[in-house]
């Protein structure tokens, strides 16, 4: 980022003034930092909405730890480390939320996923990519609308094993879906 590097040459002075309570310098600095933070966040995250969340979180973090910056040192590594940590946290949190949603979907609404499934041909294509056992479970639970217990009895597995297979299948389907959208 040579352009950012050039612009960032003034940032240590602005931050030093901000640490002394200069509101104008602080406002200028944070506004100047936003494009650099966005560029750094985009290296880790492809989802535009999440990138904007990370920018906000990074601005808040910079505000909280502004006293840790030493104006004799370059400022970009300091900003980059904060942005990187916020981006990783955001990705982790999103991952956790998705896991919970998947669990809820498996436990409470097995039929909804089938209703909101893509076109039949497309679905067959996606299912064809799944390993055999995962495909059988998805067909039993989501297409033939069997309960988890019925699917478990039919395939001689425990209910928790069926849930686990179903969970992995949903993750794979999502992955295939994302790849399909990109291509």
């Amino acid at each position: 980022m040579p352009e950012t590097d050039n612009r960032a040459q003034l940032w240590p002075q602005l931050m030093a003034r901000a640490q002394e309570g200069d509101k104008y310098a602080y406002n200028q600095l944070l506004k100047a930092m936003v494009p650099a933070i966005r560029a750094l966040a985009c290296k880790k995250i492809s989802d535009a909405a999440l990138v904007e969340d990370v920018i906000q979180e990074t601005l808040l973090a910079i505000h909280r730890v502004r006293h840790t910056y030493d104006p004799r040192r370059p400022i970009l590594p300091w900003v980059a480390a904060i942005t990187s940590a916020r981006a990783i946290d955001a990705l982790r949190q999103r991952g956790r939320r998705q896991e919970v949603q998947d669990e809820d979907a498996l436990n409470h609404q097995p039929a909804e996923s089938a209703e909101s499934a893509p076109e039949a041909d497309e679905l067959t294509g996606y299912l064809g990519n799944l390993p055999l056992r995962q495909r059988e479970i998805v067909e039993s639970v989501h297409l033939r609308e069997q309960s988890l217990a019925q699917a478990a009895a039919e395939t001689n597995q425990s209910v928790s094993a069926v849930k686990s297979l179903l969970h992995r299948a949903m993750l794979n389907l999502r992955k295939y879906g994302n790849n399909h959208e990109k291509s």
Binding site: Y26, R64, P77
Partner: protein, 214 residues
């Protein structure tokens, strides 16, 4: 693209002068100056005798004591450095090397010395364990307070390093009122105390040190 100017304007309105964090060597010096006397005071109840440095094995024990002091200072310095965004501690590899050397010295002491009558009793080891825990309590508190000032992007690592500093500092204090020779059970309890101190520091301090809770 979202407009972040309203947030920036809000943050600007709340900005006040802040005091910059001291350079790491000063912070470490301050920590040592406060932690060692506090540790000595908090473990006062467990002081039974002063080390007799005329005993055989004193040279090895003294070397281990000095090494523990160096490791404690280096660990705390690494913890403080790591807690500041964008900075990396000088070398964790060097720290591991010193810790390995300290372990080797103690194992050498373990194998070469003639144990006293009380050595090998579990009670002696438990006494050492409690001594180290009580000595490290104020040190852990000081570490968390110091790290809370800067917060950390790597709270677990920073706290583990700070806990390591407290463990070696309390081990150093223990060496001042301990036989110069070690016994296996005794030394195992020293190690167990060190691990306990690190674990307590990480678990108890995490909430106060992580940036998200600022």
């Amino acid at each position: 693209m979202r407009n972040h100017d309203p947030l920036i304007d809000r943050l600007t309105e709340s900005v006040k002068p802040v005091q910059r964090v001291w350079p790491t060597p000063w912070r470490v010096a301050g920590w040592i100056a406060a932690a060692l006397p506090c540790g000595a005071l908090s473990s006062w109840a467990f002081h039974t005798r002063l080390t007799d440095w005329s005993q055989p094995g004193a040279a090895v024990a003294l070397s281990a004591l000095l090494l523990a002091f160096v490791i404690a200072g280096s660990s705390v310095a690494a913890a403080f450095t790591l807690s500041i965004a964008g900075r990396k501690p000088v070398s964790l590899y060097r720290l591991w090397l010193l810790a390995g050397l300290w372990l080797t010295l103690n194992l050498f002491n373990l194998s070469s010395s003639v144990p006293p009558a009380s050595a090998g009793r579990l009670g002696e080891g438990i006494h050492c364990y409690l001594f180290m825990l009580s000595a490290s309590l104020p040190m852990m508190l000081l570490s968390v307070i110091a790290l809370q000032r800067t917060r950390s992007l790597h709270p677990a690592k920073s706290l583990a390093l700070a806990g390591c500093g407290s463990a070696f500092s309390s081990s150093m204090l223990l060496s001042l009122c301990h036989d110069t020779h070690l016994h296996l059970i005794d030394f195992s309890m020293h190690l167990a105390a060190g691990i306990t101190i690190i674990a307590i520091t990480v678990v108890a301090g995490r909430r106060w040190v992580q940036l998200a809770q600022a």
